[in-house]
Each structure stands twice: as C-alpha cells, then as structure tokens.
Amino acid sequence: MKITHEKKLTGVVVALSGELGHREGMEAIAYISRIIDLYMPPALTLELSGLTFMDSSGIAVVMNAYRGMRQIEGKLRLSGAPESALKVFRCAGIDRIVKFQ
C-alpha cells in the first residue's frame, strides 16, 4: 500500500492506495496519527479512490483517525471510497459518524 499526504489551506489530505489489510492498516494508523500530531489540522480528508482492496482493517484506520481528530476538535472526511470499501464501512455504520464525499 502507498500512503501520501498533502497539506492544504483547509486541512490535510491523506491518500491511501493499493491493498489495505491488517499489516497495511497498522502502517496507516501510525502514519495518520503522526500527521495529526504534526499538523493538528482543522480537517483531515482520507482520499481512498486508489484502494484496490480493503477489509475491516480499514474500519480501524478510520476509527483511529476519527478519535484523533475528535481530540483536537477537527473534522474527518472520507473521499472517493470504492464501492467495495463502502460496503465494508456500511457494515460497521461508519457512514453514520463520518462524512463521505
């Protein structure tokens, strides 16, 4: 999996691409945690359009990002999630607590 980030005026966009399973999920959680600590952004967008596979590890990635952003009173958004990832998120009710774009 590839993880990149871009700082913008409105916040930070973290892009995840490739396959997101257990191993990659742990990497993503650590990466996003560092981004939140480093920039303390008002908004964090997880750009997911490049994901080719995601299991429940993606739920843990989003929940950790959600908790991190809530601690600094920032907002979390998900962008471009493929239909297969949306199915996993819906299964956990993520669509009820995080805004999808």
């Binding site: 257990h22 596979f53 299991d55 590890s57 297969s84 996993v88 956990a92």
Partner: protein, 150 residues
C-alpha cells in the same frame, strides 16, 4: 465438502505477509465459477478476515500455521475452510458480536460480522488450547449467459 467437483488446499505460516497471498489464492480458485466483481470481493474480504484472525489472535506466543482449503460444489457454491491449531476462542458467541476484539486499537472487532454479512454461511468451531475452524460458504449466482462447468 460432499459432492465437491474441485478443491484446493494450502498451508502457510500465520504471518501477516501471507494474508494477501491467501485471499488472492482463493480468489483465483473461485474465478472458475465466473463470479461478479462484487461476489469476488466479498469472498476476498471474508477470507482476509478469517486469515487475519488466525494471524492476530491464534498464536500469541509461538507462530503456527494456517490451513486453508476451498471446494466448489455442483451447484456453483464455494466452501472455504480456515483452520488454525492455536489458542482457540473461549466464548465464540462473544467473539462473533460486532465490535468485539481483543486485538487492540488496530482491530475493529468487525471480522466475524463481515464474514457473516458477505458470505451466505459462516460457521465457527473452536476449542480453547486446540484451535479454531471457520467454514464459509457462498453460492455464486449463475450468469444469464451460462457458466462453464468447473
């Protein structure tokens, strides 16, 4: 599986690097049923959850192995068996509940819920100290243009 028309089996170390190998192997085997992309994704996701459970939970001390097998029946269904010889699950009912995890913040506790939701059947047998067997089944919907015999 009774009346299996094709089958395969694999054994590999319970290492995280093998999770993607396992789901890719089952997806390649299931491809002979001509599943839709969604059906194939469902199978890959369920296998990933089952194998991840073995990798994360089954062997807290010494790493063991995961035995994975898949069978195709004459009705066009696929049965997948994921077995470990690890620590087992003391309370299977609790483990199957949504959001239940003993794996820490990097786990969502949604593994069994996803296996149940994405497959037609999900059975779990576990004995503490001896291991766990997860049996998944999914019927692949016949396409309008027919399907080759597996």
């Amino acid at each position: 599986m009774r009346n299996a028309v094709n089958q395969m089996s694999l054994t590999f170390p319970a290492r995280s690097v093998n999770e993607s190998f396992a789901r890719a192997a089952v997806a390649a085997f299931a491809a002979q049923l001509d599943p839709t992309i969604e059906e194939l994704n469902d199978i890959k996701t369920a296998v990933s959850e089952g194998v991840t459970n073995c990798i994360v939970h089954a062997y807290p001390k010494e790493k063991g192995t995961v035995a994975l097998s898949a069978s195709i029946d004459e009705k066009g269904g696929i049965e997948i068996r994921i077995r470990d010889k690890g620590c087992g699950i003391s309370d299977v009912e609790a483990a199957r509940a949504p959001m239940f995890t003993t794996g820490g913040a990097e786990r969502s506790g949604m593994g069994f819920t996803i296996m149940e939701s994405f497959m037609d059947r999900c059975q779990v047998r576990s004995t503490p100290g001896k291991g766990t067997l997860v049996v998944l089944y999914k019927q692949i919907t016949p396409r309008l243009l027919g399907r080759r015999t597996p």
